[in-house]
């Protein structure tokens, strides 16, 4: 699909971002994980058959502007309210994966009349264990090979050869790594305040989890879902931290059943 070729530039307030928007139907805002979009994002390719899919690069990620001083996921949550206002979207389904799921949860606890429902896919963002419990695996301080086995049910062939990519693409990759680390470094990939207030979420919520997720386990996922009033929790077989990439059909099926059901 080459989603990078179909990005449009958009100014939200004074923040320039890249946005991929394809398909027709009910609006879906997809918030990408900390490492950005998959190379040929199979999930988005399926979703656009059913919905008006909006998939922006978060501020600071890819080639989107990094506004000075922004350093928490709160900034991103408020930014996406501006985004929804400016595009005048309503009854929006928010889908957030991993780090994007954290942003989605931050938006949902704040509440907004433009939100219709929410799908969280292996979201980060809360901590439930004691100080020496690792709820969220360390993306940054873990051996690269080991990390791959934590991310994927089947890590084979998932490592992209970066050495031949052009400057523009590599700049996006490096900026994405920096932004992910910047927003999530301390506290690491969670917000203690969010952990306390998930019960404020008022939109219907589906929580999807890869059965083999080694970054944040299905047990963490169940506990996450239990804190959201009325949330449904479903696992996806043969998937790790990114079920939307490893099992795009199964993930899309769940999402469609939730939105249209």
């Amino acid at each position: 699909m080459g989603i990078e070729d179909d990005m449009q530039r958009l100014e939200i307030g004074n923040v320039g971002i890249d946005l991929w928007r394809e398909g027709k139907g009910r609006p879906v805002l997809y918030l990408h994980p900390g490492d950005g979009f998959a190379e040929d994002d199979p999930f988005l390719a399926l979703l656009k058959r059913h919905y008006d899919v909006l998939a922006p690069w978060h501020p600071g990620f890819g080639h989107s502007d990094f506004p000075k001083g922004w350093d928490t996921v709160d900034d991103l949550a408020y930014f996406y309210f501006d985004f929804l206002d400016q595009l005048d979207l309503s009854d929006v389904t928010l889908i957030g994966a991993s780090f994007g799921g954290w942003i989605a949860a931050e938006m949902a606890v704040r509440g907004n009349s433009r939100l219709g429902r929410m799908v969280l896919i292996d979201p980060l963002g809360i901590r439930l264990g004691g100080p020496t419990t690792r709820d969220i695996a360390d993306f940054h301080n873990t051996d690269a090979k080991l990390l791959e086995t934590m991310k994927w049910a089947n890590p084979e062939g998932r490592q992209r050869d970066l050495t031949k990519l052009d400057d523009h693409t590599l700049t996006a990759i490096v900026r994405t790594r920096e932004a992910f680390a910047h927003y999530g470094w301390r506290p690491y990939m969670h917000n203690p305040v969010l952990t306390r207030w998930l019960n404020r979420i008022a939109v219907p919520t589906l929580v999807l989890w890869g059965e083999q997720d080694g970054i944040v386990t299905p047990d963490y996922g169940r506990a996450y879902a239990e804190r959201i009033p009325g949330a449904r929790f479903k696992t996806i077989a043969n998937a790790g931290h990114y079920p939307q990439i490893e099992q795009p059909e199964a993930t899309t099926e769940q999402v469609c059943a939730f939105i249209d059901g």
Partner: protein, 395 residues
């Protein structure tokens, strides 16, 4: 020229055959009984410097067997009282990783007072693998460094405090350090650099620019500093420049080389760290990070370079290759003097030589012999460097 003796207070007993000497090497490998003896000997060596006319340099690292000094201020606090003449250089305090820069100012001021004004205060960014033990944010670290620098200096120089400092990084409502420093307005500030692009900002503050083991890079660094200063209308004196090299002196060339070879294990072991800690996101600028990605997953660390352009692998080089790269000065006193003089000319001159006189497995007796011979046979000649025209100007 002022010469400082530097040791990292290493723990080489556990260096052999390990994939990582930093961050994830468990401290069950450290024997505190042996460690107590080692601290004693390293401190003794610095106390000896006071008698030999040498000055003292300490640094700090965290969670590592390469350097068992987690705080510059601790050995300096001891040495401030145990020595009488030596300058005491911290090079340095990684202020961007410290959550509390005001505490740094307090500690530095107290050392300065106890030593009656002998502190040289080095402020450093810190190596990339220092991020993991402190959990400091790597992205924006340089901005935080300069903000912490401004705050430390304001704390040291404010005489009618308290003042407040509230920003995104730091939140203080009453800064008012006691004691204030002995040196007025504050101890000399040193900043390390590895890239010429860092030099202008250091020059703007007229701080000492220091570089460690970097060989010919020092030439470009010092030139960038001098050019920037001249463009701003001032001529930096030699005491604005510092270079750190391994130094091994012997009665014979063989003895000097052998000592330097042992100390040079500092250079060889320095990059041994698990990959995931070696380059946190945002530590490098984007073009440098892209170059690293292009070099592929098996790319090594950046090699040292000789003045004639040959590359020297930091992990495996022989002592003579390190000499070629100007990272080591070694041999008889005459040879060491000649090597220093050549490098001095190559870089346009510098006022401080930071002599790594101990490193790796070099024993106490050998270290004492190294420092003593240097102070008797090389040190007295170094003033000659300033008294003759440069053989080859860096400019």
């Amino acid at each position: 020229m002022r010469v400082y003796h530097f040791s990292e207070m290493p723990y080489p007993q556990v260096w052999e055959g390990r994939p990582s000497l930093r961050v994830n090497i468990p401290n069950k490998e450290y024997d505190p009984v042996l460690g107590a003896d080692m601290y004693e000997r390293f401190l003794d060596e610095w106390v000896l410097c006071d008698e030999l006319g040498l000055n003292i340099m300490v640094n700090e690292h965290h969670a590592t067997a390469t350097c068992v000094n987690p705080a510059c201020s601790l050995p300096l606090a001891i040495l401030a009282r145990e020595t009488k003449k030596a300058r005491l250089l911290a090079l340095g305090v990684p202020i961007a990783n410290r959550p509390n820069p005001v505490r740094v100012a307090e500690e530095m001021a107290m050392i300065d007072v106890i030593s009656r004004g002998r502190l040289d205060m080095g402020l450093v960014r810190g190596s990339p693998y220092e991020i993991a033990p402190t959990n400091a944010r790597p992205v924006g670290q340089m901005d935080r460094f300069w903000e912490a620098h401004d705050l430390v200096l304001k704390a040291l120089t404010t005489r009618d405090g308290p003042f407040s400092w509230e920003s995104q990084n730091y939140h203080y409502r009453k800064v008012n350090i006691w004691p204030r420093p002995y040196q007025d307005p504050h101890p000399p500030v040193w900043v390390t650099a590895t890239s010429p692009s860092s030099a202008p900002r250091i020059a703007d503050h007229r701080h000492v620019i220091a570089t460690l083991i970097s060989g010919v890079i020092a030439k470009d660094l010092f030139k960038a500093y001098r050019d920037h200063a001249r463009a701003a209308g001032w001529q930096p004196t030699l005491d604005r420049f510092a270079y750190c090299a391994v130094v091994g002196v012997g009665d014979t060339e063989e003895e000097g080389l052998r000592r330097a070879d042992q100390i040079a294990d500092y250079i060889r072991t320095s990059p041994i760290v698990a990959k995931e800690f070696a380059s946190p996101p945002g530590y490098k600028k984007i073009p440098a990070e892209i170059a690293t990605i292009r070099a592929g997953p098996n790319a090594g660390n950046r090699p040292l370079k000789t003045p004639d352009g040959r590359l020297v692998d930091q992990k495996t080089a022989s002592v003579t290759e390190f000499i070629d790269a100007c990272s080591v000065f070694a041999g008889t006193p005459d040879q060491v003097y000649d090597q220093i003089a050549r490098f001095y000319d190559l870089t346009g001159g510098f006022g401080h030589l930071l002599m790594m006189g101990q490193g790796g497995n070099l024993s106490h007796e050998e270290t004492v012999a190294n420092l003593t011979l240097f102070s008797k046979e090389v040190l007295p000649r170094l003033h000659e460097l300033h008294e003759r025209p440069l053989a080859m100007s860096a400019d």
